[in-house]
């Protein structure tokens, strides 16, 4: 094994179609028009010395090292900024060029510390490489002149440091921040010799600046100026493997750079098709949880959750669990147990959990955390298009002219895709940026961020998405903006007619619905016109759409809009659910829902069931099983007694905590399979330690249906990969399950699931990744779906009547609470809270409008009591006009906040996806945490006691 190095071509690839042939150092090379000489040389295998150029960013032309000579032209042009021309004859190495380069390097090095041997970047430094490349042997000027040495380091960021003494002011960091990340946090301050890289204003350091710690600057830096603290502490890595990030649904590819079994750093992989070499603070840096002292590495059991845990052997834990499963099934019936699989685990692992439940437990009580996020996407897109998946790849955004973002906050929730979207929104010289429509109750960053301003921000009231989407459709139909040809050729006409007549009704007009949505009619009309007529229009949506009592209806409404305007089936358009967790798409694909087998095929279809029955040698139940909320209901009723919960913290993440805890308390067996003693484990009596994504092999499927390899870079600290733990549990209950490697599980998936038929680890290794469907018809996968026809044949319009949620404001609860996430934290925070990311967000805050705060006598930073019909909690207030009057907002990353004590058990009509996004609340000043929070803290401490295993005699 060795370190993986991608080729740096120096400047980005040209997208021109016309080719140009030229000669470089006597070699003929053919490249697209617009390619730089530097890139053309690299294509021909000639590396021109360079410092300020890198192919992640546009050419800058400042270091003067990459000069070349062109026959018939005067001077020595920079190869990075000079485009190729037909018949050009270029020399990259002449006496004149050698002298220039040596002179340039001599000047750089005269103002650079000569501590290479003790420098963290020793061996990984482009300045060092270039000094070697140009043959620099002496610095005639000496080192005593005016210089930049000895300047103070900025170590404020927890993950990297800035050492200005080593800076050569090539501006790569500034350009990476601008062009790749799009935050514009860095600048070159001062002029001439005084030029220095600065984060924010002169009073700022990196931490206090706008920097979002994505790491793009660190990666771009050619010297040790911006350096990972982990490299400073450990040293340079010696081998690397490409793997997939386990945070959000973007699914970035990273090189895990290792020294032995120690992770030195994660570096975004340039050939990763989801992220194209970019990263965010979580995937790049927030890995400390994997080795955190809180990780539980030994299996534990106890008879009742009120007792302390007892560490035991794997055998003992598994036979204890298996015995309880059998007892429960004997006593209460086969349907009294079930499982929940994790959208953070691999495809292979979730496939095994559903197999364990269906074939081993003999029922279909299998669900996954996608229940509480994107299950309405499953229902909505399946009903309209014929399958549950985003229609595009992420590259598609580069071809969009109009981007509509509804109920999503990509710059926080899906930061790497957010950056790619921002790049398209900014445009570039000669190519204006895409137009932007944001539909969100809150002023998310995208609405106004450097060089981007939404053309329309429809700040609707929480819970009125369907009214808004139908109003947009009303404008499109009544103003004649339908793409008639697309509808005629691709969609069911009867359904279209019914839908068109429905949305055209006056009661759906923007004027009529303004009272519901709170958005002025003009704004809605203009947004609808822009979406329908602005060219390629793409919709991106998130949990702000799905997590409502009408979540499924809203997804249908989105699909209707895309079909009506012909924005489906090619690059630049489409309907794109931004998935919350890394493998939400995959866990849904793998049959984690109780009503369907892998590949979205209903459990009642005999032929599908029989294909699995034949392979597994058992008869499967043809009835749908319990969904997560139904499991809690059945547990409270006493008909559901045992649960295997893999990698999900239902107690913290699911709504109406009191109902969830009542359900968990009523169980006789709760197996928690996780890295940590999470909140759910408070009620568990079996704990099976889990492995991190760094410790296992498998695949994740991201929001663009891309199947990416997860590669094991270190041995599981708990001893087993998660699929092995599930397999051992299966064996303990008597199942015949003996996979030796996850690739064998993938082979079973491919053999049983038509959309995965061609997927093998060999194919993934060869292609890097593929997007399903990947089968005989699409041997190398499908970047864009529904190209010639919809998966279901013709697209189906469905009428979307707005039904107001029953969770309404009134005199007692006059405000609407909505929830979301923040960049530095992830979901319930089990991982990110155990990293240094807490410097950015150490507690959840309640955002409240100044008007509402003043009425209640609440000041910034005050403790406030947040009350709903379901419960109450205390949290500190943050006063901001990001939220409209009448709306409050919080995140749910910290367990002590107990935001879900507040949320209710209302849920989506079709899928029971909880209505997290709308809760009627009241707010009042408070002295601190509520009694419930204090009690809960106590319970948690109690339930986490561990008695170590007795030493063997």
């Amino acid at each position: 094994m060795s370190l993986i190095h991608e080729i740096d071509y120096g400047t980005p690839a040209s997208k021109a179609e016309k080719d140009v042939t030229l000669s470089i150092d006597g070699r003929a090379v053919t490249v697209p028009e617009g390619t730089s000489l530097m890139r053309a040389a690299m294509e021909a295998g000639v590396q021109v010395p360079k410092l300020c150029a890198t192919d992640m960013m546009d050419a800058f032309g400042s270091c003067r090292l990459c000069v070349v000579e062109v026959e018939g032209r005067n001077g020595t042009p920079a190869s990075c900024t000079t485009p190729v021309a037909e018949g050009m004859k270029v020399s990259t190495q002449t006496d004149r060029l050698k002298a220039i380069r040596k002179g340039v390097m001599e000047l750089y090095i005269s103002d650079h510390p000569l501590d290479c041997l003790t420098c963290a970047a020793n061996g990984d430094c482009e300045l060092q490489d270039m000094a070697g490349a140009v043959g620099l042997r002496e610095v005639r000027y000496g080192y005593d002149g005016e210089n930049h040495l000895g300047k103070a380091k900025d170590v404020s960021n927890p993950y990297f440091q800035f050492d200005p003494s080593k800076c050569i002011v090539c501006s790569r960091c500034v350009r990476a921040c601008n062009e790749v990340q799009g935050t514009f946090a860095l600048t070159v301050s001062g002029r001439g010799f005084d030029s220095i890289i600065s984060a924010g204003t002169q009073f700022d350091d990196f931490l206090s600046s706008e920097c979002v710690s994505c790491g793009a600057c660190v990666q771009a830096c050619p010297t040790a100026t911006l350096e990972e603290k982990s490299v400073i502490a450990i040293g340079t890595p010696e081998h690397s493997l490409v793997t997939t990030c386990a945070y959000c649904g973007v699914g970035c590819s990273f090189k895990a750079e290792m020294r032995g079994e120690e992770l030195v750093r994660m570096v975004p992989y340039k050939d990763g098709k989801a992220n194209r070499g970019h990263s965010c603070v979580k995937g790049r840096f927030a890995l400390g949880y994997a080795t955190h002292k809180d990780r539980i590495l030994n299996p534990m059991i106890r008879d009742h959750y009120s007792q302390p845990w007892k560490e035991v052997s794997w055998d003992e834990a598994l036979s204890f669990a298996a015995g309880k499963i059998k007892d429960i099934q004997a006593k209460y019936g086969r349907g009294a147990v079930g499982g929940i699989s994790s959208s953070r685990c691999t495809n292979e692992e979730v496939f095994l959990v559903q197999k364990l439940v269906r074939a081993g437990f003999g029922n279909n009580n299998i669900d996954t955390c996608a229940r509480v996020c994107h299950s309405p996407t499953g229902y909505g897109l399946n009903s309209t298009f014929g399958t549950s998946a985003g229609t595009q790849d992420f590259d598609s955004v580069e071809h969009s002219d109009v981007i509509l973002v509804i109920g999503a906050n990509p710059t926080d929730g899906h930061p790497v895709f957010g950056s790619r979207m921002k790049k398209r929104l900014r445009g570039k010289p000669g190519q204006p940026g895409a137009k932007l429509i944001v539909i969100d109750p809150r002023r998310i960053d995208l609405v106004k961020t450097p060089h981007i301003k939404a053309d329309h921000h429809l700040a609707l009231k929480p819970g009125t998405n369907v009214a808004m989407l139908t109003a947009l459709a009303h404008v499109i139909v009544t103003e004649g903006l339908i793409d008639e040809r697309f509808v005629r050729e691709r969609c069911e006409l009867d359904e279209f007619q019914e839908w068109a007549a429905f949305v055209a009704e006056e009661r759906h007009s923007p004027e009529a619905t303004a009272a519901i949505t709170g958005v002025p009619a003009d704004e809605v009309r203009n947004a609808a016109r822009l979406y329908a007529t602005g060219g390629n229009a793409a919709i991106y949506y998130g949990l702000g759409v799905t997590e409502h009592s009408q979540g499924s209806t809203a997804v249908i409404g989105i699909a209707n809009l895309a079909m009506a305007t012909g924005n489906i089936g090619r690059e630049g358009v489409g309907v794109n659910p931004l998935r919350g967790q890394n493998n939400v798409q995959g866990s849904c694909d793998m049959g984690s829902f109780p009503h369907e087998l892998p590949g979205y095929r209903h459990i009642s279809i005999d032929a599908v069931r029989e294909s699995f029955e034949e392979l597994w040698g058992v008869k499967l139940d043809n009835e749908p099983g319990l969904r997560i909320p139904n499991m809690f209901d059945a547990a409270v009723e006493g008909t559901f007694k045992g649960l295997y919960c893999q990698g999900e913290d239902i107690l913290q993440s699911d709504p109406d905590t009191k109902h969830v805890s009542a359900g968990l308390e009523a169980l006789e067996l709760l197996i928690v399979h996780d890295l940590f003693l999470n909140e759910t484990a408070n009620y568990a009596n079996v704990f099976l330690p889990g492995s991190s994504f760094l410790e296992k092999n498998g695949t994740f499927t991201n929001a663009e249906r891309r199947i990416n390899r997860v590669r094991k870079v270190m041995s599981p600290k708990n001893g087993y990969e998660d699929w092995q733990v599930t397999q051992m549990l299966a064996q303990a209950i008597g199942m015949d399950m003996t996979y030796a490697d996850p690739s064998e599980i993938m082979a079973e998936i491919a053999a049983t699931t038509p959309s995965f038929a061609n997927v093998t680890y060999d194919l993934l290794d060869e292609k890097g990744s593929v997007q399903w469907p990947c089968n005989e018809t699409h041997p190398e996968g499908s970047p864009v779906m529904h190209v010639g026809e919809f998966m279901r044949g013709r697209g189906k319009f469905i009428v979307t009547e707005y039904v107001a949620t029953d969770e309404r404001t009134g005199p007692r609860f006059p405000l609407l609470l909505t929830t979301g996430r923040i960049l530095s934290q992830y979901n319930v925070g089990a991982q990110t809270r155990r990293t240094e990311n807490v410097v950015w967000h150490d507690q959840d805050l309640l955002e409240i409008h100044p008007h509402d705060a003043e009425q209640r006598g609440v000041r910034n930073g005050d403790w406030v009591k947040l009350q709903s019909r379901a419960g109450e909690t205390s949290i500190k207030a943050k006063i901001t006009d990001r939220v409209a009057p009448g709306v409050v907002y919080t995140t749910f990353h910290h367990p002590m906040t107990q935001a879900n004590v507040i949320t209710t058990d209302f849920s989506d009509w079709a899928t029971n996806c909880p209505e997290y996004k709308v809760t009627a609340v009241q707010i009042s000043p408070s002295n601190g945490p509520t009694e419930w929070q204090e009690d809960y803290r106590e319970l948690t401490m109690e339930s986490r006691r561990i008695v170590p295993s007795e030493a063997a005699e």
């Binding site: 009642s604 008869k619 849920s907």
Partner: protein
């Protein structure tokens, strides 16, 4: 007062299918319940139907009753598990 969650859920489904074309409404409700409701949930729904406790039920739910599948055999009769298979 605790609302009847099961009836509430059925009514939510009915409200969606209210706007379906005439003739497809109660069928839509029944199909949805058959497709997504676990048998013990449908059993509880039938207990309400059978005992005439249909007050508060959306008319479409009541209309859908003949098309909703009544859970037949207990789970044990419908399936095997690998345990049974290996035990026998």
């Amino acid at each position: 007062m605790e609302r009847d969650k099961l009836v509430y859920m059925a009514n939510q489904i009915a409200k969606f299918f209210e706007s379906s074309p005439e003739g497809a409404r109660s069928q839509g409700v029944a199909d949805h319940i058959n497709k997504f409701w676990e048998p013990r949930m449908r059993t509880q729904l039938f207990e309400r139907f059978d005992e005439g406790r249909t007050e508060g039920m959306h008319p479409l739910v009541i209309e859908a009753q003949p098309e909703i599948r009544r859970p037949a055999a207990p789970l044990e009769a419908r399936t095997t598990s690998q345990q049974d298979a290996s035990a026998s």
